[in-house]
């Protein structure tokens, strides 16, 4: 779960990390109540990255200019993400910018600091990046060590060390995937302030983080309506542009099935991994989600039952086909309780493909003959 900048900075402030004074507004008239003195910074609160380049950050020299900017910025949509509100802050007297983040490192299998003596950068494309494994249990020397490796000195070294330590504590205590300050600003007065903040909460940990309770639904704004519904139902749905709806159990098999569809000349309309052990109800919901995508002409169901019982899937199929007898279905169903499933489906007239490649080829064929609708058209 991605948080908005203002939410991330609120969490930073609670942890003792200095952030600029700020007000969150949505209407031009609210600007009159902001008493930081001009010039002010106005920042769109959007989930999407690259906000600055997209014109989502503006400076106002007085109230009049500010009001007009508020109106413009609130109307802005960045990479499909609507502006939720504006964060208003005094413009900082910046002497220097740093980058500081904590995340988990896949290769080392532990938390790391990512830091750079250059701030405000795209960290992925920077050469000047320091990565430091973080010891567990954590001790405050880790922050000092990092600050020293960044080449800092004196009071600034101690302030950055302290912020690094607090950032790690936020990362650990809140179960984050990422806690990022970019830029971390050193002011002309040697204050150190988190000018922008990004937090990604680990999705698997939200349920034990009481402070994020109830926030999840309002923070899925980059997802389509159906992707959001899938997430709430415990299904993994990613919608694509093609016309072959794909439903499998297991992420790897779903991706491999998509790849094969593409490989045999078809176009996947979605990724839908129903997960392991899905029952009839969940499978039916998954079928409906794939079916509702207006791009989809054919549904390819590929189940290799390990935990998933084929008879549960068959039950869902029977119900689904009653509801949607016109929907073209290609079904491959193998594994656990396959025999029962085959018996359940024998009266439906549905052809079962034991072989995955045959099923994929059939789906591609069926999709090609299905109305020749151009790819990408009619997407809701």
């Amino acid at each position: 779960m991605n948080l908005y900048e203002y939410e991330a900075k609120r969490i930073f402030a609670e942890a003792g990390i200095p952030v600029p004074p700020a007000a969150r507004i949505t209407k031009p008239e609210e600007l009159a109540k902001v008493h930081f003195g001009y010039p002010l910074t106005l920042k769109c609160q959007v989930m999407a990255g690259g906000r600055g380049k997209a014109g989502g950050i503006k400076f106002a020299k007085d109230l009049n200019e500010g009001k007009s900017l508020v109106k413009d910025l609130m109307a802005l949509t960045i990479k499909g993400s609507k502006t939720e509100s504006l964060l208003v802050e005094p413009k900082m007297p910046i002497a220097r910018e740093l980058y500081l983040a904590v995340t988990l490192d896949r290769n080392r299998g532990c938390a790391i600091f990512i830091a750079s003596a250059e701030g405000g950068i795209e960290i992925e494309s920077s050469d000047n990046v320091l990565t430091e494994p973080i010891p567990y249990p954590y001790h405050g020397f880790a922050g000092r060590k990092l600050a020293q490796k960044l080449g800092l000195k004196g009071a600034v070294l101690n302030k950055v060390a302290d912020i690094a330590n607090k950032l790690y504590k936020v990362f650990e205590n809140k179960d984050l995937d990422l806690a990022e300050i970019n830029p971390l600003v050193i002011t002309t007065g040697d204050d150190v302030v988190a000018l922008d903040g990004k937090i990604i909460v680990n999705d698997d940990s939200i349920a034990r983080q009481k402070s994020f309770a109830g926030m999840e639904e309002s923070h899925l704004s980059e997802l389509s309506v159906r992707e959001r519904r899938a997430k709430m139902a415990g299904l993994n749905l990613v919608e694509l542009e093609g016309n072959i709806g794909i439903l499998c159990n297991g992420a790897g098999l779903t991706m491999a099935t998509m790849d094969m569809v593409k490989g045999f000349g078809g176009d996947p309309g979605n990724f839908l991994d129903a997960g392991g052990g899905s029952d009839q109800k969940k499978t039916l919901e998954a079928l409906e989600l794939v079916n509702e995508n207006p791009n989809v002409d054919v549904i390819l169901l590929n189940i290799l039952g390990g935990i998933t019982a084929c008879d549960e899937v068959a039950g869902a199929l029977v119900q689904f086909m009653k509801r949607h007898p016109e929907r073209k279905m290609i079904v491959r169903l193998r594994g656990n309780n396959q025999d029962i499933a085959e018996k359940m489906l024998s009266e439906s007239g549905l052809k079962l493909y034991p072989d995955l490649e045959e099923a994929v080829k059939a789906a591609v064929e069926a999709a090609k003959s299905a109305g020749k609708k151009p790819v990408g058209a009619g997407k809701s």
């Binding site: 938390a111 790897g252 491999a256 997960g275």
Partner: protein, 294 residues
Amino acid sequence: MILVDKNTKVIVQGATGKMGSAHTKRMIEYGTNIVGGTTPGKGGETIHGKPVFDTVLEAVEKTGATCSCIFVPPYLALDAGMEALDAGIKLLVLITEGMPPQDTAKLVAQVKAKDAKLIGPNCPGIITPGQSLIGILPGSIFKSGPVGMVSKSGTLTYEIALALTESGLGQSTCVGTGGDPIKGLDYKEVLSMFEADPATQVIVMIGEIGGNAEEDAADYIKANIKKPVIGFIAGQTAPPGKRMGHAGAIISGGKGTAESKLESFRSNGVLVAMTPKEVAQQAAEALKQPVKAK
């Protein structure tokens, strides 16, 4: 075979839960040497004829188990893993999906400190066909033979094992290392075990988008593995920035793409297959060739 055989004594942590119980039954039916289970507060009961203990320590003391298959809810997985390590368990097979990755990182650190091995989390487990199935894999798909498999995925592993089995090629051991970004055993460790295993003649490595473990493994293969390796990557059609089911399966910042992994396979001498059937064909082909000299 590697890691497990018919003598491996296995306990099941969370054996009396719904999933734990169902898979304990299956494992016993498969022939796995299940020696007991644990559920705190249910010590003294039995599950599918095996004794249930309150703690792993008690189970280890009374059964001599060296391996634990863990089915506990995600937020209890760290504690369960730590308990197993504390009790002297040397191979942890952690099936649980949805474990917080910071918990996994803590467990992984302790696994290293204790010189133990962890498979998972969020994994299907491990099978040495005909001898021992530890986890949730469907045993009937696998048969004994010369192909060693290592994979991040569950059902895709079954799909490829099925293709191998149907084309007459059995497996020495199949290891599902799991779909999480932070995890225990990785490709390189399993590859080195397969290299040393006389029963393995060819290796199938199944990867997916996200991270750079496949690229790392390809470099490792070039330097260290003489047996033929067939690589498969899922997610060639996955869009960037989207988590594809597995917590680890995401292309971010232009990194972790299928192209990068396939390119790395090709340039390091890993044979590339594009469908499960092709994996089986390539494996059959490779078995006919003499072993590479490096």
